[in-house]
Amino acid sequence: MQLEQTIRAELAQPGKDILLMTHIVLGYPSLAVNRQVIKQMVANGVELIEMQIPFSEPMADGPTIVRANQEALEAGTTVKECLAFAAEMAREHDTTFLFMTYFNILYRYGVEAFFRKAKEIGIKGFIIPDLPPEEEEEFWQLARQYEIPPILIYAPTSTAQRMQELAASAEGFIYCVARKGVTGKQTDFDASFADYMARCRRSTTLPLAVGFGISCREDITFLTGHADIGVIGTATINLVDAQGPEAVGPFIAGLR
C-alpha cells in the first residue's frame, strides 16, 4: 500500500499532473555513470527510478536494453554489486527506487533472501516481466509479507477480464505497455491508445504507468490525463550513449 500512497501524495501536489519514472540498466555503461545519471534524474524531479539488474536472457527487452544488459555483464557487473549500489542510491536520494529484472536473478539469489535484501535496502517495488501471476506462488506471498509490491503489466492484447484478474494480484501501480513489441521502439499515441487507456482505467483503481517508446515532451503531454506516470526507458540510455550523463538533467527538466 505504501507505494500507492507515495504516488498519490506526489500527484496531489499542485501542478503535478503526471509523474516520471526513469530506467537505468545497472552497470551500463558503468556504475559510476549510473551514479551520475541518477543524481541528475533526482535533481530534475524524477519521482520513480527502476533499476534493472542485468540478465543474460532479457527476453522482453528491445535492442538498446539488450545491448546494455550484455555490455554490463561483459564488464563484469554482478548481482551483488547491483544490490550494494542500489543500497547506496536509496540512502543518498529521497526518491522511489524499484528493481526491474527477470525472475532467474531472484531465483538464483533465493527468492525470500532477495525480498529480505530489497526490504533492507529500501526498494519499493519489483517489475519482473517474465513472471505472470500464475507462476511461483511463493513470490506473490512473499511480496505481501515483505510489503514490496509486485508491479503487474497490462498489454494492449489484455482483455478486460484478464486486466481484472491481474488487478487482483497487483499493488502499487500498474505498468501499461503502450504497444505490442519490445522496449525502445516508437509508439503511436492515437485514438486506439486512448481506448486502451480507458480500458485499463476501468479495470483497476491503482495508478497507471505507461511505458514503451516514450521519448519527448510531446509524448508526456499526450499521456497527461490518460496516465499517472510516464516511463522513460530507452530514451535516456540513448541520450547517455550519444551525449554523456550531463545531458540527462536538461532532458528530464524539459519533459514536463
Binding site: 540478465f55 539488450v66 554482478t78 531465483y107 498489454a155
Partner: protein, 409 residues
C-alpha cells in the same frame, strides 16, 4: 494436483503478459487438435506422403557382429524429408497453424535443420517465414542458410548474447511479442513455455510409436536400451515415448561433452555437475549458468546440441531416474561417425553421432539376444564442412581453396 505444463517441479510458462492471450488461444487450438483423432490421422498421412514415414529401423548387422554384444538397430530419422526428425514437429505445427488461420511463421534454429524444415513447411502451406539463427551458427552451417533462403524464408542473423541457439530463441520471442496476431512461433524443441514441450513431444512421439512396432516385428521383443542425443531433447522425447511405460527398457540420453566434462567447454546439463535449476526462455529446468543466474557459453562440435537448457520433461524423467544421462566428447563423436560410415554405410549427423558413441561403449557388454536402438535423428551430409574440417581432410581442403580462388577471380 499437478498444474498443466508442469513435469514434477519443471516446466511452466514464464511469459510476458503481452503473449497471454496468444498462449491461451494456442493452448485451446492444441487441446482441440489433440482431442480430434482426424487431426493425428491427417498428420500421419501428410508424413507418409510428404516426408518418408514410417522411417525404417535398420539392423546394423556388421557392427553388431564386430562388437559381439547386443543387436544394434538404428531408427532412421535421417530419411525424413529435409534429413532429420525436425520435420515431424514442423509439419504437425504447420497443420495447427492452418487450423488457427495464421499466415506467418517464425522459428529459431541452431544447426539449421529446424530452420530448413520450417522453411519447407512454410513453402508448402503458403506461409510467410522468418528464421532466427545465431551468427556463430550461420557461420558453421552455411549450406542450411542457403537452403532456407532458396525456400523463400528470410534468415535473420542474431548477433546478441552468445550468438547461438538460446539467443535465436530470445529474438524469435521478441518478434512474436511484436506480431502475435498473424504469426505462430514454431518452437523447434521440447523446451520453452507450456504448451511447447507437450506439443513438440506429441508430434515427435510418432518416432517412438513406429520404433516400438518395428522392433517387435523385426526382433520379436522389446529392446533392452534406447539411445538418443539430447540438445533441447525433441528426438529423444520422440523415441523414448514409445518405451516409457516399459520399465525394463532403459532409456539413455547423450549430451554434448565437447572437449570433456572437466574442460568447462561442453553443453552437458544433466550428465555433468555444472548445471543448476533456473528459469529462462519461458520455462523452469536445469541450465548451464553461473552462481548468479547468468547463462554460460556452451560448446559442442554439433550446433544442434549447443544449448544451455534442456527439456523440462527430460529433467523430470532424469530426476525420477527413468532416463540415464551420459556425455560424448567431440573426439569420440568423430570416431563413432567414421566407424558408422565405414562399417554400415550410413552417415549420421554430428548430433546423432553422440548417441552412437554411448551405444558403442555399451553394446559389447550386452548379450547377443538383446537389442538396442539408436535414434539417428539426422543425416550428416549437412555437416560436410564441419566433418571435413574435423577429419582435416586434405583433398577437401584443396577443393575449397580451388573453389575459393574461382569465386575470387
Amino acid at each position: 494436483m499437478q498444474k498443466p505444463g508442469y513435469y514434477g517441479k519443471w516446466g511452466g510458462a514464464y511469459i510476458p503478459e503481452v503473449l497471454y492471450e496468444t498462449f491461451k488461444d494456442l493452448n485451446a487450438a492444441f487441446a482441440a487438435a489433440k482431442a480430434d483423432p482426424t487431426f493425428w490421422q491427417e498428420f500421419v498421412d501428410l508424413m507418409a506422403t510428404y516426408s518418408c514415414r514410417p522411417t525404417p529401423l535398420t539392423h546394423a548387422a556388421n557392427l553388431s557382429r564386430d562388437f559381439g554384444g547386443a543387436q544394434i538397430f538404428v531408427k532412421r530419422e535421417d530419411l525424413n524429408h529435409t534429413g532429420a526428425h525436425k520435420a515431424n514437429n514442423v509439419m504437425g505445427q504447420g497443420l495447427l497453424v492452418k487450423r488457427m488461420g495464421k499466415t506467418r511463421v517464425i522459428a529459431e534454429t541452431g544447426a539449421g535443420q529446424h530452420g530448413v524444415a520450417t522453411a519447407t513447411m512454410a513453402a508448402k502451406f503458403g506461409l510467410e517465414c522468418t528464421i532466427y539463427m545465431g551468427e556463430e551458427d550461420v557461420r558453421r552451417q552455411r549450406p542450411n542458410v542457403f537452403w532456407m533462403e532458396k525456400l523463400g524464408a528470410t534468415v535473420v542473423t542474431v548477433t546478441s548474447g552468445s550468438k547461438t541457439l538460446k539467443d535465436a530463441i530470445n529474438e524469435a520471442f521478441r518478434d512474436w511479442v511484436s506480431r502475435m496476431d498473424d504469426t505462430h512461433y514454431v518452437m523447434g524443441t521440447v523446451c520453452g513455455p507450456h504448451p511447447f514441450p507437450e506439443m513438440v513431444a506429441w508430434f515427435q512421439s510418432i518416432i517412438g510409436i513406429e520404433a516400438r512396432a518395428q522392433i517387435s516385428k523385426q526382433f520379436g521383443k522389446l529392446p533392452s536400451r534406447v539411445y538418443a542425443c539430447v540438445g533441447g531433447g525433441s528426438n529423444a522425447m520422440g523415441i523414448f515415448q514409445g518405451f516409457l511405460d516399459e520399465p525394463q527398457v532403459e532409456l539413455i540420453g547423450v549430451e554434448a561433452g565437447g572437449h570433456g566434462l572437466d574442460s568447462g567447454r561442453h553443453a552437458a546439463r544433466l550428465a555433468s555437475q555444472d548445471a543448476s535449476p533456473g528459469v529462462a526462455q519461458g520455462y523452469h529446468t536445469m541450465f548451464l549458468q553461473n552462481q548468479e543466474g547468468q547463462m554460460m557459453d556452451t560448446y559442442s562440435v554439433a550446433a544442434g546440441l549447443d544449448y544451455v537448457g534442456v527439456s523440462p520433461i527430460l529433467t523430470d524423467l532424469w530426476e525420477q531416474g527413468r532416463v540415464r544421462f551420459e556425455a560424448a566428447t567431440d573426439k569420440e563423436v568423430m570416431a563413432a561417425l567414421e566407424l558408422t560410415m565405414k562399417r554400415e554405410g550410413i552417415i549420421p549427423a554430428l548430433e546423432s553421432s553422440h548417441a552412437f558413441v554411448q551405444a558403442y561403449k555399451e553394446a559389447p557388454h550386452m548379450q547377443p539376444d538383446e537389442a538396442l536402438i539408436i535414434n539417428m535423428s539426422g543425416r550428416g551430409d549437412k555437416d560436410i564442412f564441419t566433418i571435413a574440417q574435423a577429419f582435416n581432410d586434405p583433398s577437401w581442403k584443396d577443393f575449397i581453396i580451388t573453389k575459393g580462388a574461382e569465386y575470387a577471380a
